[in-house]
Symmetry: D2
Subunit: 341 residues, 4 copies
C-alpha cells in the first residue's frame, strides 16, 4: 500500500504516519517529490490493519498497489523521477545521450573518445573498467586504472561518467571515480549487488537482463530503491530470442510499457540490442520516437581495433551524423537535444 500525503503536509504529519506504520509492524518507505511525499508500506502484517491511516492528519489518500513492486510504481510518485547531471538531467524534457567505448583500453583511446562524443553533444561518457566477460580468458578490463582514466576524461570534458560495477566490494571504489553506477545485464538479479548500489549515493543505470521480464526489471529496481537509493534509470538493451540476425532483439515496446508502469527514466542501448554498426542509428532514432529519455551508445575512435564490441561501435563521424539526425527529430516528438554547431 501507498500513503499519499497532501501537498502541504508538514514534517510532523509525515513523521506521525511513519511512526504509526512502524508501530503496526510494517516498514515505511518515504519518497519525497516536488509535488509532495508518498510513503510505501512494506511488510507482511494483517490485511486491513491500515485503513485508519486515511484519517491521519496530512494524509491525502491511501492507494492499493496491484503490482508486486511498490516504490517504482507510477502510482507511488505522480511525477517522473528526474536525475540531475553536471549539465542537464535525465528524465526531463531533454533526450540524453551517453556514449563512449565498450572498454577503456588506454589513455589515448578514452580521451579521444571523450572529446569526440562531447564535441558531438553527448552528456555522459560511458566506458568499462571492470568488464564482465563470458570467458575467463577474454580481456577483463583495466580495472582501477581504467577508472582513473575515465575520471581524467571527465575533468577534461566535463561529461558525467557511467561505468559498470560488478561486485558489492567494488561499489565504493567505482563511486569514487564515476558519477553513475551501471549494473550490467548479467547482474540484474545479483541481489547482493543491488543492495550495495542501493546504499550508495550515486545514480544507478540498471540494465535489463537479457532473459528478464519487465516485471523482474522493475523488481530489481525496487531492490535498489528499497535500500534507499531512488535515483535509478532503467535500460532496455535487447533481449535474447530465437532470432540471430541481430545480436539481441530490441524490445521497443518496452519503452511505452515502462513509461506507463513506472516514474523512473528509461534509456535504450541500441548498440547491444542490434550488434551491427550500420543498424544502430535506426534503433537509436526509434528509441527517441518511442519516448525513451535517452540512449547509451558505443563509440570508438577506431572500432576495427577495439578490444571488445568493435563491430557494433560507431565511429566518431558516424556518431556525429546520428546526433544530427536525433537533434532534427527531437522537437517533432516533444523533446530537446542540442548539439554543438
Amino acid at each position: 500500500m501507498i500513503v499519499v500525503m497532501a501537498p502541504d503536509a508538514g514534517i510532523a504529519e509525515i513523521g506521525g504516519v511513519i511512526r504509526e506504520i512502524e508501530r503496526l509492524g510494517y516498514t515505511p518507505r518515504p519518497s519525497h517529490g516536488r509535488s509532495g511525499t508518498v510513503i510505501g508500506v512494506v511488510g507482511a502484517g494483517a490485511a486491513g490493519d491500515l485503513a485508519h491511516l486515511a484519517e491521519f492528519p496530512g494524509v491525502a489518500r491511501l492507494e492499493e498497489v496491484a503490482h508486486p513492486y511498490k516504490l517504482v510504481a507510477r502510482e507511488a510518485r505522480p511525477e517522473p523521477t528526474v536525475i540531475p547531471l553536471r549539465h542537464g538531467e535525465v528524465g526531463g524534457r531533454e533526450f540524453v545521450v551517453m556514449a563512449g567505448p565498450c572498454s577503456v583500453e588506454s589513455r589515448e583511446q578514452v580521451l579521444a573518445a571523450a572529446r569526440a562524443v562531447a564535441g558531438a553533444g553527448a552528456r555522459v561518457l560511458r566506458g568499462g573498467a571492470f568488464k564482465p566477460r563470458t570467458s575467463p580468458y577474454s580481456f577483463q578490463g583495466l580495472g582501477e586504472e581504467g577508472l582513473r582514466l575515465l575520471a581524467e576524461a571527465r575533468r577534461e570534458t566535463s561529461l558525467d561518467v557511467v561505468t559498470e560495477v560488478m561486485a558489492p566490494e567494488q561499489v565504493a571504489l567505482v563511486a569514487e571515480h564515476a558519477d553513475i553506477l551501471q549494473v550490467g545485464a548479467r547482474n540484474m538479479q545479483n541481489y547482493a549487488l543491488l543492495e550495495a548500489v542501493g546504499r550508495a549515493r550515486r545514480p544507478v543505470l540498471l540494465k535489463r537482463g537479457m532473459m528478464s521480464t519487465l516485471e523482474e526489471l522493475l523488481l530489481a529496481a525496487e531492490y535498489i530503491m528499497a535500500n534507499g537509493n531512488h535515483q535509478v534509470m532503467l535500460c532496455e538493451r535487447g533481449i535474447r530470442t530465437f532470432e540471430t540476425a541481430t545480436r539481441n532483439t530490441c524490445d521497443i515496446g518496452a519503452v511505452p510499457a515502462l513509461k506507463s508502469l513506472t516514474h523512473l527514466p528509461v534509456i535504450v542501448d541500441p548498440s547491444h540490442a542490434v550488434g551491427v554498426r550500420a543498424w544502430v542509428p535506426a534503433v537509436a532514432r526509434a528509441a527517441l520516437a518511442a519516448g525513451a529519455d535517452g540512449i547509451i551508445v558505443e563509440v570508438h575512435p577506431d572500432p576495427d581495433r577495439a578490444l571488445s564490441d568493435g563491430a557494433q561501435s560507431l565511429t566518431p563521424d558516424g556518431f556525429r551524423e546520428l546526433m544530427a539526425s536525433l537533434a532534427a527529430m527531437a522537437p517533432a516528438v516533444g523533446r530537446e537535444l542540442s548539439i554543438p554547431v
Copy 2:
C-alpha cells in the same frame, strides 16, 4: 548467382542470356527495374558452369549471392521495389499508413472505419473477411460477404484494400475484391499458399511468422517471387518471446536489418506487436524513425465492442492524433506523410 545486365542491354541480349541459362539446365528468373535488368539463376547444376555468361553481350557482371535467397536479395536489384497504390506508392519516399478494423463485422462498422481512416490520411483500408482463429469456436469472419463490404468501402473512399487470404483456393475470390493480398503470420510457411499468391496478379503483404527468423521471412518472400509475383511487402508484426507484458515483442531492429538485406518494402504492425492500445502510437512512431516504409494499424469505430482485438485497436480520435504526430515527424526522418487539414 545473379546476372546483372548492362543498363543499355536490349531485349535480344537479355533473351540470349536467358536461353543460355536454360540450355545449361538452370531456371532463369529475370527482374526488370528502372535501372536495368538482373537475371537470377536458380537450380542445381554443376558449379562453375556459368562463368562464361560474363562474356555474353549485354552482361555487366555476375554476382554470387551469399544468402540462400536470391530474388529478394538487395544484390539482385539495385533500387528499392516500389508498389503503386490507387493514391501514392509503397517503398518510395512516402510513409504509407494502412488502417482499419481487425475483422469486418458489419456494413456500418466497416464504412465508419473506412471514412475515419481515410479522413485522417490513411492510404489503405485493412480488415479481415476470413479470420484465422486459434479456436474453432471463435468468430471466423464474414467471408465473402466481408469481401463485398470492403469493396464497397473502397468505392466510397478510394482507399486500397488489404485483406487476408488463408488458403490457395481463396486466392481468386479475394483477388477479385481486394487490392493487396495479406498472408498471415500463421501461414508464412504454408508453401501451397505462397505459391498460389505468387501466381496471382496482386501485391502481397507477407507477415512474419511469430516464430520465424528474418532469413525464413526472406525465403518465404522468395517463394512468392520465384512464382512470378515481384510485388511483395514484408511485415514485422512482433515475435513471440518470453515477455508477456506485451502481446508480442516488436523486433524494431528487423527494420534496418531487412532494409539492408532486401529491396522489398518493409511495413510494421504495431497493433499486434504490443497488443495494448496505449502503447501502439509509440511503436508506430518508432517504426517511422527506424526506416520502415509504412505501418498497418488497427482502428475500430467502437473498440470496446469489437469482436476481435478490441484491446489493441485505436479509436478514430486516437488514430487522428497518431497521424498528426507521424506527419510532424516524417520530414525530420526524410519521409513524406500528408494528412488532411
Copy 3:
C-alpha cells in the same frame, strides 16, 4: 460444456439429448468410448440455458470445461483414445515406434529403410513424399511417386505408413496411399488444412508448431476433432528457443502435461528435437520414461548421402541398438515393446 451420459444410456436417450442441444441453437459433438458417451456442446448461446439437460433421461452429469478446447480435454473422455494399427495400437500399453527416412528418395532407399526398421521392431514407416522446405530451391520431395513407393514398402513389410500432407487438395491423394496423415509443424495453424484432415477418414499425426504453446496445439487438435475426425496423435518435436547447440529444444515436460490435459496419444520426435544423431537415442529413451505413447525417429540406410536431415538420421545399426535399449527399459516403466530376436 460436456454432457456425460450414464454408462447404460441407450441410443434413444443419447438422441434425445442431441436433439435438445440442437433445439437450443448449439451444436452437439458426441464421442463414444468404451465406458460410455459424452456429448460436447459447442456454440454461443445464452449462458445458463443448458442446466435442465441434467434432468434428461440417461444423463449422468454436466461438466463445465475450463479450457478453450472441449473435445480434446481429458474431461471430455474418461479413457485414453486408442488408435488401431495394422499391428498393435497407439495410446495403449504398447510403446509404438515409427521410423524411416526424412524424405523418400528412391525405391531402393525406401525399401531398404522399411526392411531395416521393420526388422528392428518398428510398427510404422515414416517418409516424406511432399516436403515443406524453407527454400523454394531445396529438394521438395518425389510427390505422388513417393507415395507409391511408400505404399509398395508397406505391402512388403506390413508396416503402417505415415506421411505429410501439405495442402487441403492433397488430402485425398495422400489418404489413398498412407495410413496416417501427418500435419507438419509449419502447418499446425493452417486451419484450412486442419479442417480438411478433420473430414478425412484417416488418423492424423499433428506436429506441434516450433513456437506453439501446448494450448495452441490442443486447439489445433480441436479443429480436427470438431470436423469429425477423433483419431488424432499429438507430436512434440522440439520447440524453438535461444539455444543453438541442439536444432530445437525438446520440451520433455510437455509429455506429462499433455497426458494430464488430454485423452489423445502423445508421440515424441527426438530426431528433429535435437538434430544430432549421437544425441537422439538419449532423448528417445527420455520420451519413453516420461510417459509418451511412442516416438517417430529418422532412420536412413546411408545417412551421409541423405538428401535431407542426414545429420540427425540414425543408421540401421544405430536404430537396432536404440530399439534394444527401449525394449529393455519398457517393462520398468509399465510399457510393452517387443523386438524381433
Copy 4:
C-alpha cells in the same frame, strides 16, 4: 591448446612442460586424472609457438581445443570427473538423488524433510538458507541460522548438504556448514561469485541460467575450474521459453549434449523445470533415461504450507514412489540406485 601427458609421465616431466609454457608467456592449467595428466594452455601468445612442446619428454600429444572453454572440455580429461560424497559419489555409475525443501523454514521442517529423503534413498539434502527472491519483500531465507539447521540435519542423517551461496563474502560461511556450494541460475554469470567458489575447497553445483546457452554454462564452469576448483557439477533446471504451461522448459537434450562436450557430471532439477508437482516424476525419470548423473528435487513435509515452491514440491510419499520407480528403471539404463527396503 591441451598438452596430454603420457600415462607414465613423472613429476619432473610434467614440471618441465609447465615451466616451458610459462616461459612462453602462457598460463599452464594442469589437471590430474586417474589415467594421467593433461595441461591446459591459457593465454594470448603468438599462434604456432607451442608446436615444439610435442617433443618434450613425457608428452603424449598436443590437442587443439575447438571450443572457447578448455578445462571443462571432454578433450581435456579422458575420464569423467567423479565427485566423492560421504556415501557414494557423483559422476560414477550411481544415479545420485539430492532432495529436500526449497527453503529451510524451521528446525522441525528441515529435520522431517531430511529424515524422509534419507529414508527413501537420497544421498544429499538440499535446502536454501540464503534465498534469491525476485521481490525484495519476499521471504529471503533464515540465513546463518538456516545453515546451522542444515548441519544438524546432516549430523542426524549423514546426508551431504547442498545449499546456495549468493555472494563472494558468503562463501567461507556457507563452506563451513555445507558440503556442496550451489550457484543459482540468476548468478550463473556473476563472475565475482564464480571466482570465489573457484577458490573454495568444496564441490560446486552450478545451475544453468534460465536463458543461458550450454556454451555459456560451460564457460561459467571454466571460470570455477580456472580458479583451481575442479569439482563442478552442471545442473539443467529448465530454461525460459515462450511456453507458460510449465514453469520453465526442461531442455532434456542438454543432457546428452553436455555429456558429450564435458567430463563434468550433469544433474537435472525437474522441480524448477516443470513447476507442477504431478509432472515432476515423469521428468525425473526422463533425466535418468537421458543419461544424467543425478537429480535435485524439492520435497517438503507439508507442501501446501511451504513458504516457497510448494506447488512443485513432492510430498514424502510422492518422493518414495518416485525413488521406487527410479530404482526399478536404473539397471535397464546401466545405472545403480539402491533404496532402503
